[in-house]
Every structure is written in structure tokens, then in C-alpha cells.
Amino acid sequence: MSAAKSKRGDFLLAVEGLTVSFDGFKAVDDLSFYLDPKEIRVIIGPNGAGKTTVLDLICGKTKATSGSIKFDGKELTKLKEHQIVHSGVGRKFQTPSVFEDLTVFENLEVSYPKGHSVMGALGFKRDAEVFKAVEEVAETIFLTEALNEPAASLSHGQKQWLEIGMLLIQKPDLLMLDEPVAGMSVTERKKTAELLRVITRDHTVLVIEHDMQFVGDIADRVTVMHQGKVLSEGSIEHVKSDPKVIEVYLGH
């Protein structure tokens, strides 16, 4: 189904037959889905459907029991976490995980994709390029004014943006966001939707979200997961009217 939509028939991310079992419990069960370049895909589903586990599997935090994850033609299941990052996958966690002891500037600088080896980090110099990259990203994530503040002093929403910024500065091809608007105020949600729209001009984005309003605002397509499997997939209208989806998720 996705193949028809994809221009040249090649996906940015192809997940096929992905299965992970924790002591016999299959959190993700023979899951397959495909992302086109520059697509915004939202994964929804009831609690325990395996949404976060899917992101964990793609970014290498959890190892797959079987199946394959091909990103840009590369098999990710064999790589280590930092190698997956280097091949262009960025992951934002559900709770904001920024470095509270460091300033916003330093948070972004640490994420800047240079000086990743021990010796590289020892010799890393803050040159004009770094400043430029940090300032650009800071503007995108509405934190220009807060560059010199310690990250601990930011609001919850700002921390979420900072973590998104930390992904952006890595210039990944695929951004994975786990509930980016959870716990945000209405204004912050609007701004985040705006931020995601800017981001998707140059990135493919995979989002987990519960807020259906927000999902409708941003999604190109929606994948509904249930008990580790894909229940339904398509436009937001399509999945909203899918009786299976109404049955397990929306209707209750």
C-alpha cells in the first residue's frame, strides 16, 4: 500500500516482521510498516500496545527477537545505539531527558554531530560553525533567549523543545518523538505543532501521540497499534472510521 505512494518505491524506513518477546510475552508481534521520505507518521494505540517498544527497537535500546529494520538500505538491528544515531536516526524520549546541569547552549553543543569519539571530544573546538548551528536550532525551538540558562530552569514544555532541538542539531533523516506534547499547555501544544511543521520540511518524523486533536493537526498517515500488531493504517479519517479501531480504542 505504501509502495504505491512512494515516488521511487524506496522507503526511508522499512520495518518487516519485527518481533520482540520479553519472557514469552510478545510486546511487538510480527510488525511491518514503511515510512516514505519526508512523511509524518503518527503511531497511536491503547496503553501497552507496544508503541514505545517499537521506537526502542528502531533506535537500538531494545534488541529485536526477530525481523528486520532497514533504514536507508541499512540493517539497524545489527548496529549499536551510537552507530544507529550516526546513520541518521534521532530519538526523543517520553519524559524530557535533557542535561539539567548544563546550559541550553551546552546541551545543544553536546548534541552537535562532531567530536563524538573520546579524542574528538578532547580536541573539540567551539568554532563559528558550532555557534551558528546552535543559534539556528535555538531559534527553531523558541529558546534563543534561554541559551545561557541552565536547562534545569526551563519549563516542562521548554525541556521537551530542547530535547527536540538536540535531535535537530544532529541533522538526522528520521526523527522519532515519543509523546512530544504530553503535559504541555494549550499554547505550548500549538507551538509544538508549528515546530513539527517546520521540522518536517526536511525530516521524516515518526511520532507517538495520544492527543487526537494534535494527531489530526500533524499526521500524514496514522498507524494504529494494538497488542503489538498493526490494527489499521491510513489517513486520520480512515482510521477514525475503521470499525476495528473504534472497537479497541476510540469508542471507549
Binding site: 544515531v85 542535561f99 546541569d101 547552549f105 569519539s117 571530544a121 545561557n148 541552565p150
Partner: protein, 402 residues
């Protein structure tokens, strides 16, 4: 590191702290103390090397090692083996059944020098081994633990077990190691008698020099991006990993760095004290080293030096009068510090003394204060100033200007 000339750095606040320490160690103490006491201060300072390593490893990166005595001991034993071989010439050991080998080997019926002692005839090999052997062991332990994601309490327990194992090994293999007595009766270093007052004073100054070298290496690391990654790793290991860093490699690096510092400290200890024995490297000694670091302030490399000096001075003073009470005093000190001042002396200094300094500074030379953060890492030009809580002793990842 500095945006302008290196000399200017000494006029910054951080620079002045280093100058103050240098004046204390190079001028005040040598003038105030007799050679015997100065030698004792030299001994305390050798523990400061370990404490600096612990600041990097534990304070910054969050890796608590309860086995730093192992690396201290390895460095010390390497140096002791060289000195012992030099003292065991065939002439000096003519009365032994096998002349030319260290006395304790002869007592244990060894008839030739074990193979691993052979390279220690060479002074340059010994200098390499003082750093190389501890770093190698730290690398092996670090590689085995950190690539398997062993951390926290488990890592601390394993390092402690290693300290116990090494002690047992050394005591058990007394023919090869000198056993529980250690390696004693060391006399000369390349023909230079290290037992005279004059030699001990010179060794004290060498020790101070090496200490400052280590301080500057530690400072370089903490002010670079590497230092910020260590701190970041401590707080949010996963975020660092998923920002594209091989977390294990960074942990191995900082653990090896701490081991190298400890090795240098151990070698200086052997030279200054004149012998090396298993009692300096076991579990108790290793835990004491953590206390030096905690008391000084586990985030401050300068604090670690003061911590090592003060705790050891207190230990000597206390044990001279009430030897049996010292372990209790030490325990109480540790608990007190952890509960009441988690950032140790450096934290107290920052909270209570620095505001006073600020007042004096502002009154006398407010203008100079403006230029303060020029010392911070390598940005083109520091501009706007603020950072009320910023303390070079505590942390050097001050807010950077953009």
C-alpha cells in the same frame, strides 16, 4: 583554554586559587615545617593524585570506584621494584645464598629473579610501567564492565573485590612480592640516596610539581567538550548514548585517567616514604581515598587536594594521641560530610566564602571581575556576564556565551 595570554589566566579567580595552592605548597609549608613533617605532607600529597582522579571518575562521570588503591599500589610497586633491584647488587647481597636478588626472595628460597622483575632494571621502563600498568588494568576492568553496562553499586563492589584480590595475591606470593611486609629497605634512585633530608625535600618538590601537572591535565579534560559529556553522562546516560556517543568508551577513558593519576601518586609515595606494602592498597586504604575526595568536594579537583591534605593531617594528629579512636572519627567524618555537605569543603567554600570574596572583589576591583569568565573554555569571545552561582572550584562548565 585561555582567550588571551596564559599569564592573564593567573589573575583570574580560578587562576588565583591555583596560585594560592602553589604558594601554600611551595613556600609556606616548606618554610613552616621541619624536613620530617614536610616529608609527611609529601606523603599526604601522593593521595591527592588519587583524589583528583576520583573527582574526574566519580564526581564528574558518576563512576564510583572503591578500588583506587589497586592503581595506587601498582604504580607504587613498579617504582619499589626498580628501587629494590638497585639496592640488591651482588655486592650488597653477598651474604645471601643467591646474591643479586632482593633479600625477601632469598628468604623464600628463590634462586633466580622472576621474569616479570627483569624489565625493572631499566629506569625508563619503570617510568612507563608506573602509568602503563595501572592504565592497562583499568582498561581491562573498564572494558569488561562498561561494555556490558555494569555500573553504579555493582561496579563499586567489583572494584572493591579487585582491591581485596590484589592484596591477597601480594600477601600470598611473598617470594615474588615481599608479602605482607611489602618491599622495604629501598635506598637509592639511580645512585642518588633518597633517605637523606635533602633528598626528601627535593622529592617533596617533585611531588608538588607532578601534582600540578595532574591538576592541569584534569582541568584540561573537564573544560573540554569531553568534560561536559562526562557530566552529561552522569545525569542522563541514555540521552548521551542516543546523541551518538559510545558511552562505554568515555567511561573507560575516565577510569583509565583516574588510574594513571593514582599510579603516579603511588610511585611518588614509594619514593617519599621509602617502601611499599599491601596495607596501602587494600579495601580500607581504597575507601579512605574516596573519603579524601568526598571531604574535599567531589566535584572540585582543587578541593580534592585540600581534602587529601586535611584528612591525612587529621589522621596523623588523631592517631598520635588516640590511635584507637581514629577509625570512628573517620567514619563520623564521612557520614557527616555526605549528610550535611554533599559537595564537601569546596561546596562550603562556594556557599560561604565566595560571597565574601565577591564583596571584596567588587569594592576593590570591580572592573577586573567583569573579565572573569575569559578563563572558561574555548569560545571566541566571552561577552555578557552573569553566572551568580558559577564557581571555578566546583565546576568549570560555566554558561558559555554565544
Amino acid at each position: 583554554m585561555k582567550s588571551s595570554s596564559p599569564l592573564k589566566w593567573f589573575a583570574t579567580r580560578e587562576g588565583l586559587y591555583y596560585v594560592a595552592l602553589a604558594v601554600l605548597l611551595v613556600v609556606i609549608l616548606p618554610l613552616a615545617l621541619d624536613p620530617f613533617r614536610l616529608n609527611m605532607v609529601g606523603k599526604y600529597l601522593t593521595y591527592a593524585f588519587v583524589a583528583i582522579g576520583l573527582v574526574m571518575c566519580w564526581g564528574k562521570a558518576g563512576i564510583l570506584s572503591l578500588g583506587q588503591g589497586v592503581f595506587f599500589g601498582l604504580g607504587g610497586y613498579c617504582m619499589a621494584m626498580f628501587l629494590k633491584l638497585e639496592a640488591s647488587t651482588p655486592e650488597a647481597t653477598a651474604i645471601q645464598s643467591t646474591p643479586g636478588i632482593p633479600d625477601f626472595m632469598d628468604w623464600n628460597q628463590l634462586t633466580e629473579l622472576p621474569w616479570f622483575w627483569e624489565p625493572f632494571h631499566s629506569f625508563s621502563f619503570t617510568l612507563l610501567a608506573v602509568i602503563g600498568v595501572p592504565v592497562l588494568l583499568a582498561f581491562v576492568i573498564g572494558f569488561a564492565m562498561f561494555t556490558r553496562r555494569v555500573g553504579g553499586v555493582y561496579f563499586a563492589i567489583i572494584t572493591q573485590a579487585i582491591a581485596a584480590i590484589l592484596t591477597i595475591l601480594i600477601i600470598g606470593q611473598q617470594g615474588y612480592t615481599g608479602g605482607v611486609n611489602g618491599i622495604t629497605d629501598l635506598q637509592t634512585l639511580n645512585g642518588w640516596d633518597i633517605r637523606t633530608d635533602e633528598a626528601r625535600t627535593i622529592l617533596y618538590f617533585v611531588c608538588v610539581g607532578m601534582l600540578f601537572l595532574c591538576l592541569f591535565v584534569a582541568r584540561l579534560v573537564q573544560n573540554r567538550k569531553l568534560g561536559r559529556i562526562l557530566v552529561a553522562m552522569n545525569a542522563q546516560e541514555n540521552r548521551v548514548r542516543f546523541s551518538g556517543y559510545d558511552v562505554a568508551a568515555f567511561k573507560i577513558f575516565v577510569f583509565c585517567l583516574a588510574a594513571a593519576f593514582a599510579g603516579v601518586g603511588g610511585a611518588m609515595f614509594t619514593l617519599i616514604v621509602g617502601f611499599m606494602s599491601p596495607s596501602f592498597i587494600g579495601i580500607v586504604a581504597s575507601i579512605e581515598m574516596v573519603i579524601f575526595c568526598a571531604l574535599g568536594g567531589r566535584l572540585s579537583i582543587l578541593g580534592a587536594v585540600y581534602g587529601a591534605l586535611l584528612v591525612n593531617a587529621a589522621k596523623s594528629g588523631f592517631s598520635e594521641s588516640f590511635p584507637e579512636l581514629w577509625p570512628f572519627a573517620m567514619g563520623a567524618l564521612f557520614i557527616g560530610v555526605v549528610l550535611a555537605f554533599p559537595n564537601g569543603l569546596a561546596g562550603l567554600y562556594q556557599t560561604y566564602v565566595m560571597p565574601l570574596e565577591d564583596k571584596i572583589f567588587k569594592r576593590n576591583r570591580g572592573a577586573k571581575l567583569e573579565a572573569k569568565p575569559a578563563e572558561k573554555a574555548a569560545e571566541p569571545k566571552p561577552t555578557a556576564e552573569k553566572t551568580p552561582d558559577y564557581d571555578p572550584m566546583i565546576d568549570s562548565y560555566s554558561p558559555e556565551k554565544s
